[in-house]
């Protein structure tokens, strides 16, 4: 019989503890990163979701027929009617200070909103109308429960008097929380209750369009050249090294390039999707080239041999057979590149896309901002009301990114062939 062979585990030996500990460290590292992800996204969603609702207040407003010309509603100032209506509602506000506080309950843009409603509904003229207008951002934030009323009055944006008025209005059901459609249909504004992301979204979309139209063909053709045609010589090696290094150049340097060359040298218009798209295209190019090359490499040589075997030229083989087969991979890579470009902020700051622009851009040469830059601008604004708008804009940005990545994943699953 053989000697006893000792293979029994010694529980708690140093080696086993070291083994367990090491695995735990790994798990801990992963959990820590993912916890950060969840906390970050979670806190943004938590802060941002309230921005999709907005408080409205009902004002009973006299619209005297003798003061409003039905043919020129646009030229009428409704501010004084609104102020009168507020004073009528709360006649106890007599001092200048009280009146000022009273007017601050509604949005500074409320008079324009009344004008629009009267324009749409001219029969309101000469009546005692009940019209809903946005509350000011301070009121909105308070009604959403973000204001600590235990705080000393001097440290709050709303005075006790204003809170009293609001309580009264709430009792009379004259305050309502509605879905904030303006957020999706409007442009930037100085007033947090009035801002929308549409201008920034369109700006980003136009920039990405320019970016795609430039970088996709350039990237794909470069990849085709390097993968299928380029002889292995020093010159092509330089191109390859160049592309790899370009992929790691800090994005802000591309912004400097855009500023010095596109704006100052070629004199292209500042703050436009045209220049933004061009800068983003240069940044995205390496990503698309690298993805497209990988995709071309994955096409088996048998396909090329088959095409050559029936007498197709190299160019025909490539463009009739290899490129179509590699296209899904190239598109996937490009969508991922576009998603990166969508989140890019720094280079756009350099080419002036930080301007305050209210209008939604109509074309690629209109001055505009972009979604991530809009986030940066709002994050920089001191008003409390912008906090939730910034978070909400981030949610919109993340939603676009997730959709783009999902499209890329689905495209890859659907179209990519396995050899």
């Amino acid at each position: 019989m053989t000697d006893h062979i000792d293979i029994i585990r010694v529980e708690g030996s140093t080696r086993h503890r070291a083994q367990k500990r090491f695995q735990l460290y790994g798990l801990l590292a992963v959990s820590l990163s993912l916890a950060f992800l969840f906390i970050m996204v979670g806190s943004i969603v938590l802060r941002g979701s309230s921005a999709f609702r907005q408080s409205f207040v009902q004002v009973e407003i006299e619209l005297p027929a003798d003061a409003i010309d039905p043919d020129d509603v646009r030229g009428t100032r409704f501010g004084k009617f609104l102020k009168q209506a507020l004073r009528n509602k709360f006649p106890q506000a007599t001092t200048q200070k009280d009146k000022k506080q009273l007017y601050k309950l509604v949005s500074a843009t409320a008079e324009y909103s009344i004008r629009e409603q009267v324009e749409d509904n001219p029969q309101l003229i000469g009546t005692h109308a009940k019209i809903w207008v946005r509350t000011s951002s301070d009121v909105d934030i308070y009604l959403k429960g973000y204001v600590d009323t235990d705080l000393d009055e001097s440290k709050r944006r709303l005075s006790d008097q204003q809170l009293e008025w609001l309580a009264l209005l709430q009792q009379e059901n004259k305050i309502e929380s509605r879905i904030n459609t303006k957020f999706f249909t409007g442009g930037d504004s100085r007033e947090p209750e009035q801002v929308g992301v549409l201008g920034a979204v369109i700006g980003s979309a136009l920039s990405l369009l320019v970016c795609f139209l430039l970088s996709f063909p350039l990237g794909v053709l470069t990849a085709v050249y390097l993968e299928e045609f380029a002889p292995k010589n020093k010159f092509n090696r330089i191109i390859e090294v160049n592309i790899n290094n370009l992929a790691a150049v800090p994005s802000i340097v591309f912004g400097l390039l855009g500023l010095a060359i596109f704006l100052n040298f070629f004199g292209l218009p500042r703050s436009t999707p045209l220049v933004g798209g061009m800068v983003l295209a240069l940044m995205t190019l390496p990503t698309i080239i690298i993805a497209s090359r990988a995709s071309l490499r994955a096409v088996p040589p048998s396909i090329r041999e088959a095409a050559m075997g029936i007498g197709a030229s190299k160019v025909q083989t490539t463009f009739h057979h290899v490129v179509p087969l590699a296209m899904p991979g190239m598109l996937t890579g490009s969508i991922i590149g576009m998603a990166q470009a969508l989140g890019e902020t720094a280079p756009l700051l350099m080419i002036g896309m930080v301007a305050f622009i209210v209008d939604v851009p109509q074309g690629i040469t209109d001055a505009t901002t972009a979604l991530p830059v809009q986030i940066f601008l709002w994050a920089d604004s001191p008003e409390r009301g912008f906090l939730e708008k910034t978070s909400a804009a981030i949610m919109v940005l993340l939603a676009f990114l997730i959709v783009m990545n999902l499209v890329a994943i689905i495209l890859r699953r659907r179209l990519e062939q396995r050899w």
Binding site: M1, I5, D6, I7, R9, V10, R15, H16
Partner: protein
């Protein structure tokens, strides 16, 4: 039809594998091995004789390497692989819950098909095992283990002046002997060799075969080989596998001169490849 043939096969298998040596160190009982859905070994029964060389032969894909990797539970490394049945080492079930796979592998060493020295110095390659197992207490002791292992592997004279050079810089045959020395250094009871010479030239193969012959005095060696000549040269016992079944097992001389099973006959005469 098929099932009848199958049953006949199983019958013949049991008939011919009743070789049950008394002084067995490893014994496999009713072992089945699966890779995912696919079964690679069927109801394997095998007793390995202590301090001898046992050769596992058979055509490619017959399951001999799979069985070898069961003996030190290297199959644990492959996620989709699972093993059923019992394998005992010195009477202890190696799958028992209280068995430490690390200690098991210290006792059952392994040499692989392709030489796989660590990209470290020759010295560190040998010293790695004794170090992790805390087998030596001083540098001098470790030096001694390294020297002894390299001497046993017949490599000492060739490398003694360059112990600090990379193990990967040696020739193929030297690398494989380095790997054997590395396995010896942790003082195993059993050494598993998975086609240790398949990547070597004939001269290096001869050196390694001589080495195996010397090692069998101290270690139990189980060697998987493609080459029947090699099995005949180095082993005392031979097991022939076919399609995941153990067909025949016995003294090497018997298997090669008087095989009982027709399939063994066909294989050693070159009809099954």
């Amino acid at each position: 039809m098929n099932s009848i043939v199958m049953r006949e096969n199983i019958n013949t298998m049991i008939e011919h594998s009743d070789f049950a040596p008394e002084n067995s160190i490893i014994s496999a009982k009713n072992v089945d091995v699966f890779y995912g859905e696919k079964q690679a070994l069927f109801n394997m029964n095998l007793d390995v004789v202590e301090n001898s060389v046992t050769a596992l032969i058979g055509p490619s894909g017959c399951g001999k390497s799979t069985l070898l990797r069961c003996f030190n539970r290297m199959n644990d490394v492959i996620p989709i692989c699972h093993v059923e049945g019992s394998i005992t080492l010195g009477g202890q079930d190696i799958h028992a819950s209280n068995v430490d796979v690390v200690s098991l592998r210290q006792k059952v060493g392994m040499v692989f098909q392709k030489p796989n020295p660590f990209p470290k110095s020759i010295y560190d390659n040998i010293a790695y095992g004794p170090r992790i197992h805390g087998m030596t207490t001083s540098k001098a002791e470790l030096d001694e283990v390294v020297e002894k292992s390299l001497k046993r592997a017949g490599l000492w004279d060739e490398v003694k002046d360059r112990l600090d050079k990379l193990g990967t810089g040696l020739s193929g045959g030297q690398q494989q002997r380095l790997c054997i020395a590395r396995a010896i250094a942790v003082q195993p009871k059993v050494i598993l060799m998975d086609e240790p010479c398949s990547a070597l030239d004939p001269i290096a193969t001869a050196t390694v075969e001589e080495l195996i012959d010397e090692l069998r005095e101290r270690f139990t060696i189980i060697i998987v080989t493609h080459s029947m000549q090699q099995a005949a040269r180095v082993s005392m016992h031979t097991a022939f596998f076919h399609l995941g079944n153990l067909v025949e097992y016995g003294a090497t001389s018997d298997i090669f001169t008087a095989p009982k099973d027709e399939r063994t006959q066909n294989y050693i005469t070159g009809r099954i490849g």
